[in-house]
Amino acid sequence: MKIVCDRSALVDCLALARGVVASRSPTPVLTCLRLHAGDAGLSIAATDGEAGLEIGVGSVEVKEPGECLVPADKLEQVIRSLDGDDTVSLETERTMLHVRGADSHFKIFGYEVRDFPGVRAYPTDLPGFSIEAGSLRKMISRTLFATAVENSRYAISGVLIERTGKKLRMVATDGRRLAMARGECRGDESDFNAIVPGKTLTVLSRLLADPEAEVKVVRQGSLIWFRVGEGSDLACLSSSLVEGVFPPFEDVIPKDHDKRVTFDIGELSSAVRKAALLTNEESRGVRMAFSTSKLTLSSRAPEMGEAEIHVELEKYEGEPLEIGFNPAQLTDALKVIDGTEVIMELKSPNKPGVIRSGNEFTYVVMPMTLG
């Protein structure tokens, strides 16, 4: 293999691919990237055994086709370090990769390409759906943060993707709060549910930089594929799905609220952030006291101090209420809403609260018991 690449395009692709490889693995090839140069240009493949990514690199001149398998972190560091060079040349010598810049020459020891487990090819013959990258990216950002770090008895370490006709829903929960995003998709009739691992969606989100690119999604058995873009920029991400049962989330979205308030997002975010300053690990809750014209947020951290913040309310419907929330859980949701207004629906101090932004975003959060 002998190629000349645009350095910055290569760095971008390496950074994306690095998101997939295992950071540490007893199997060294899982910490490697496979570079393949052929008629279609250069493509980089990475896998951690669960997820696999194959991404095309633009602006490459292929002088001799070929392949190599080299450690991802070293290759990325080397290419990144050549910041004075517009182009870099890559050339293989058996399992070794020569990287040359204007004044530099690196030899990176690699592995036999045949040891690479490979990434699953995109199954072009299967039904699926398409969605605009910008819209998918927004749905990911509105749910991914609410996933659990690991599975409990329910499969909640990933985001549930649920397609029904043209309607797409994504849902995530960590057992204390739940985020649901709605969007629209196109494609043939193939409704499905799948729980996609958080890590896969983190990588996918980075592939969605161009909001207008088209994303195709196909699912088969316990696998899912996302194909982004086309031509030399094509990226294909495959992943195993999270096995197990997603909790019965529709049951916990309250429908019987009798208190409703509309906030300016900036105002509410700022008030919650202020109140959060005087909470700590032991007293994480912020008290929110609603009355017809005013919301008072208060917090108290032993040995630290207290805070009290007032917010004028224009639209509060219902009886006065005092309820406690974990401010971080509120902020997480407020961060991902665009627009200027947000609606909060409440029932009682021990019933979950709901935050809504239009029909596109619903967030359910359990209150905290107040002292």
Partner: protein, 398 residues
């Protein structure tokens, strides 16, 4: 300036050993060592008779017995000491609502403003000593000072079985002659460093340049200057709860069998879970401590998505952490270990302020809870060793 305070530090003398001498009158006046037996057991507490022969706590039991061969060695009965500790706290709470237990055998009291009712600090201190003696027949030392630091210094001066007072007036001068070893947080090793840098007494610290302290000993040491002058603003908080609950053990001989290692972790999980449930706490972080025969110590921890107080949940996480560690450390091959420990931290109340209920009910954890409830109630009726879960372990027959 803040309002002058009166703080008491109550410290039980040779607590475990004193409890044993009280419960077994034949041991009174004789050297007693409470501590683990076996090759690596250490002294948890030694009676003053044993201390006179050079025994100190944390010394290997083997060495202690060499120094004091006629000592009676007793295995710790933690439950008994916990009981006594609770009774002592109950007595202290009669004197002030602001009682902050520091450990099983010491506590701070803020008695500011109690003068009219109970008398001044030394009067209250005497009353406490008398009451503890009368009700529990246990010796304690009490220090009186204008803040926590001084009260603690005073109780050290009072030991054993005494009372000492550090007055706010002329405090800096009184403290000036104290050797650096008496400073809060300075151990024998730290003291050598301070001495090498020319800080031999509190007076040297009083004169210290804060930047020099920070540079030599880290940012945390800056406060030592104020402490050396007897200034300490920390308040006595009654509602301070334990920050963590843990359990660890050094094995008499290294433990290599992975199943036995896991069984050991589950045993700690049982004890930790029981303590969490008794105090109505949930843990949001579990760590394991691992020590290899070469004395390399590792710690691995995990934040939980869901607070845990069941033996099952704590054991699962602890075993998972050990497994993960061994996968990286010994590629999953059996690895002899010298010590294992489990700690549950980031504790929040299960009910009451700060609690957050789950969105979804959990059938599996509900079952764990039922098992725990049954085990806890058997333990309450028949004592600690009455129930232990199945699973691999040395006690299980073939």
């Amino acid at each position: 300036m803040s309002v002058p305070r009166t703080i008491l530090h109550v410290d039980m003398d040779a607590f475990y050993a004193s409890v044993e001498q009280r419960d077994r009158p034949e041991l009174r006046g004789k050297p007693v060592i409470v501590g683990g037996s076996g090759g690596r057991g250490v002294v948890a507490s030694a009676s003053y008779e044993a201390r006179a022969k050079g025994v100190s706590s944390a010394m290997p039991t083997v060495m202690a017995l060499r120094r004091c061969p006629d000592a009676t060695q007793i295995k710790p009965r933690m439950q008994r000491y916990q009981e006594c500790s609770r009774e002592i706290l109950a007595i202290l709470e009669e004197f002030s609502p602001l009682v902050e237990p520091v450990s099983i055998d010491e506590a701070f009291l803020d008695v500011t403003g109690c003068e009219r009712l109970l008398g001044d600090g030394p009067t209250i201190a005497r009353a406490i000593r008398r009451k503890v003696k009368d009700a529990l027949d246990l010796p304690c030392s009490v220090g009186v000072g204008p803040n926590k630091f001084c009260a603690k210094l005073a109780s050290e001066m009072a030991k054993p079985d005494g009372l000492a007072v550090l007055n706010a007036n002329g405090l800096a001068e009184t403290l000036a002659e104290f050797p650096i070893e008496r400073m809060w947080g300075v151990g024998p090793a730290g003291a050598l460093k301070f001495r090498a840098a020319g800080y031999r007494t509190f007076a040297d610290l009083q004169r210290a340049d804060e930047r020099d302290l920070a540079k030599r000993f880290g940012e945390g040491s800056v406060r030592l200057k104020a402490l050396a002058a007897g200034l300490d603003e920390r308040v006595v908080t009654a509602d301070r709860e334990a920050k963590s609950v843990g359990q660890e053990r050094t094995f008499a001989s290294d433990l290599e069998d992975p199943e036995l290692q896991q069984a050991e972790l589950r045993r700690y999980a049982e004890q930790i879970g029981e303590r969490l449930r008794r105090h109505g706490r949930m843990a949001w972080e579990i760590s394991v401590k691992i020590r290899t025969p070469e004395y390399r110590t590792f710690s691995r921890s995990r934040r939980l998505d869901e607070g845990a107080d069941t033996t099952g949940a704590i054991g699962d996480v602890a075993c998972g952490l050990l497994e993960e560690f061994l996968r990286g450390f010994s590629r999953g091959r059996p690895q002899p270990l010298r010590l294992l420990g489990v700690t549950a931290s980031a504790l929040t109340p299960k009910e009451g302020p700060g609690a957050q209920r789950p969105l979804f009910e959990d059938p599996a954890r509900e079952r764990d809870r039922r098992i725990d409830r049954a085990a806890d109630s058997v333990r309450n009726r028949f004592g600690k060793g009455a129930v232990r879960r199945g699973g691999p372990g040395p006690s299980r027959g073939g």
